[in-house]
């Protein structure tokens, strides 16, 4: 924690960055995002097991990204998101200083996207154990059971779009669910409309999701929607041997064609 504060302070003091995005104390034992713009505020930075929000979201937020060059406190998921956003031409290396954190939460000395990439190659990218177990459980269901499971879970959805808003990879200015000429996705929060929305969201994140779990964390109704995108993570890894957010320069799995792509899904 001290090393993060020290580094953030140095970055701000030397004007290497104008802003450091990190974690700070919030209300009622919650953690909230801290936007450090003055050296003395760096002392308010914290890092503990409560610090799980994917801060890379703010790299795409209008008001934040126009503050200047940004330093960002980056546990694994944030580092992966930064690389994935870079691969989609959404962030530039020159505009970001990544305060990467190792598996033991220590501050790493990573000075380029290339070094971050090399570090990520040494990390365990597996899904969290609990979620992995649930996916195995759902995979074990019959088609009908699986449909019922998801219909039941998704029926709670109120379409507040917290999942989309919290996801750093959901950065479209106009989401497909909001296109209504023609309308692709039923806008209303009904069981069918909810199913359409969540399937569409999962498909748009296939090959791009860095399994940070922010969507499920943001859901006010505790719908385990991260399981949908996590499943795409497993499928993409299985079929294409690719994990999102592992390189700053990589082609999008689902929108690039390779001559040796498997075609065994065609019956």
């Amino acid at each position: 924690m001290e090393s993060i504060r020290k580094k953030a302070k140095e970055l701000i003091e030397s004007n290497a960055v104008q802003l450091v995005i990190g974690y700070g104390e919030g209300s009622d034992n919650a953690v909230r995002t801290l936007f450090v713009r003055k050296p003395e505020d760096a002392d308010k930075l914290i890092y503990d097991k409560r610090c799980v929000q994917n801060l890379a979201f703010y790299l795409m937020k209008h008001e934040v990204k126009h503050m200047g060059k940004i330093g960002i406190v980056a546990p694994l998921t944030v580092m992966r998101t930064v690389l994935q956003l870079a691969s989609e031409n959404q962030v530039k290396e020159a505009n970001i200083v990544v305060l990467g954190l190792g598996a033991d939460n220590s501050l790493l000395n990573l000075n380029s996207f290339k070094e971050i990439q090399e570090h990520i190659a040494t990390r365990d990218l597996l899904l969290p154990e609990k979620e992995n177990a649930r996916i195995t459980e759902i995979d074990g269901m019959s088609k009908e059971q699986r449909w019922d499971f998801w219909t039941d879970e998704l029926s709670r959805c109120i379409k507040c779009y917290a999942c989309r808003a919290a996801c750093p990879m959901c950065y479209c200015i106009r989401c497909q669910v909001e296109c209504n000429q023609p309308q692709w996705i039923t806008a209303e929060a009904t069981p069918m409309g909810n199913m359409e929305w969540h399937l569409m969201r999962a498909m748009h994140l296939a090959g791009r999701c860095v399994n940070c779990g922010e969507c499920a964390r943001a859901c006010p109704l505790d719908i385990p929607i991260n399981l949908l995108t996590y499943k795409t993570v497993l499928t993409v890894k299985d079929h294409f041997n690719v994990s999102a957010g592992t390189a700053a320069e990589m082609e999008s799995v689902l929108s690039s064609y390779k001559i040796d792509d498997k075609e065994n899904f065609i019956n």
Binding site: G26, S27, D28, A30, V31, R32, T33, F35, Q53, F57, Y58, K61, H62, E63, V64, R156, I158, K159, C160, Y161, A162, R164, A165, A166, I173, R174, E178, N180, Q183, T186, A187, E188, A189, T190, M192, G193, E214, R217, A218, P220, L221, D222
Partner: protein, 341 residues
């Protein structure tokens, strides 16, 4: 009218629910499903949970559902055949376990949906809803009803307000004509009440800020940098608006499934970037700080001005639903401090 006080025993309460159900009323009460407590239809009181401060979502969907058909139409050779909403199909509802803040929330919705043009659908649903509120015996740090003219035992908005007193008995305050009608229909379940010191059974919710000062000073705080600062971490989702008991904005879209077309309204939120976008592409509220300010202004400036009501009941749901710790109570305290400067 003066409020009549009765005692309802636990056994009578259970009987009341069964008899209302038999009568054909649909009964909604807080039910625990998984990790979430929400208003769900029940057929006996045993299904209801008492272990809640407030439900995750407000009770507003009883009169203002998250998705609702306004009309339907079909294209035929003869032309477009329209079918109006069948108002007769709107059920009689008894809402049990609404907290005083939930009940007060309906006063805001009533004011909005009857402001200029009466919203027939909302008004009909609400007119067929009887609210049996239950006072709060506990609260948490997100609650601030007492700062916005409410309190944990307020009868405002309830038709009957129950307060759990000793031995599982409830003090029943019969507040409105609807409440009187229900209590006299089931008179045998409402016993004569002794003197009860209701206050001692209520949660203690300290006043966090001076609402009159906020109402007076908020408009001149329009350009205060605090809106930008508070909303930096806001992610622009609609969770706060959708769990809010007083947020009433909706979107209307035509939906086609097969040969059936319907015009439906769904909840909308002023926090969404597309909420105010014009056809030209111009967006008068293009950044989140403007949208956050609008959310607070609507409740603390525009509603008091237009509808003579404070548009926030202090339930704290928005703060609990927020994944990035936007804490409305804290923000209003900050605003009050800014105004006092």
């Amino acid at each position: 009218m003066s409020i009549e006080k009765k005692i309802v025993s636990q056994a009578s309460f259970e009987k009341l629910v069964l008899q209302l159900k038999e009568e054909g009323k649909r009964i909604f009460a807080p039910v625990k499903k998984g990790t979430i407590i929400g208003f769900d239809e029940i057929s006996s009181l045993q299904e209801m949970t008492n272990d809640y401060i407030v439900t995750k979502q407000s009770a507003k969907s009883v009169a203002f559902p998250k998705a609702e058909k306004l009309l339907s139409f079909q294209s035929t050779k003869e032309g477009v055949m329209m079918k109006d909403k069948d108002f007769n199909a709107i059920p009689e509802v008894v809402l049990i376990g609404a907290r005083p803040c939930d009940a007060a929330g309906f006063n805001s919705l009533n004011a909005i949906f009857n402001w200029d043009t009466q919203d027939a659908l909302y008004t009909t649903r609400f007119s067929r809803t009887t609210i049996i509120g239950i006072s709060c015996s506990k609260s948490d740090a997100k609650c601030f009803c007492t700062s916005v003219n409410g309190n944990p035992g307020s009868t405002e908005g309830s038709d009957i307000l129950l307060t759990l007193i000793d031995n599982g008995n409830y003090l029943a305050e019969i507040v409105t004509e609807k409440g009187t009608a229900l209590a006299s229909k089931y008179a045998s379940l409402f016993e004569a009440a002794p003197e009860v010191d209701k206050e001692k059974y209520l949660a203690n919710v300290p006043v966090a800020f001076d609402v009159d000062a906020v109402l007076k000073g908020i408009v001149s705080s329009f350009d205060n940098p605090l809106w930008v600062e508070q909303s930096l971490r806001c992610i622009s989702c609609g969770a706060c608006a959708f769990v809010c008991p007083t947020c009433a904005c909706f979107d209307i879209q035509d939906i086609t499934i097969g040969a059936e077309h319907s015009r439906k309204r769904s909840w909308d939120s002023c926090g969404f970037s597309l909420f105010t976008i014009h056809t030209s592409g111009h967006n008068p509220r293009e950044v989140q700080s403007q949208r956050w300010r609008q959310r607070v202004m609507h409740k603390f400036a525009y509603m008091p001005d237009r509808q003579q009501i404070v548009g926030c009941v202090g339930c704290g749901r928005c703060s609990r639903a927020c994944s990035v710790d936007m804490n409305l109570k804290e923000h209003l305290i900050n605003l009050a401090e800014e105004i006092a400067k």
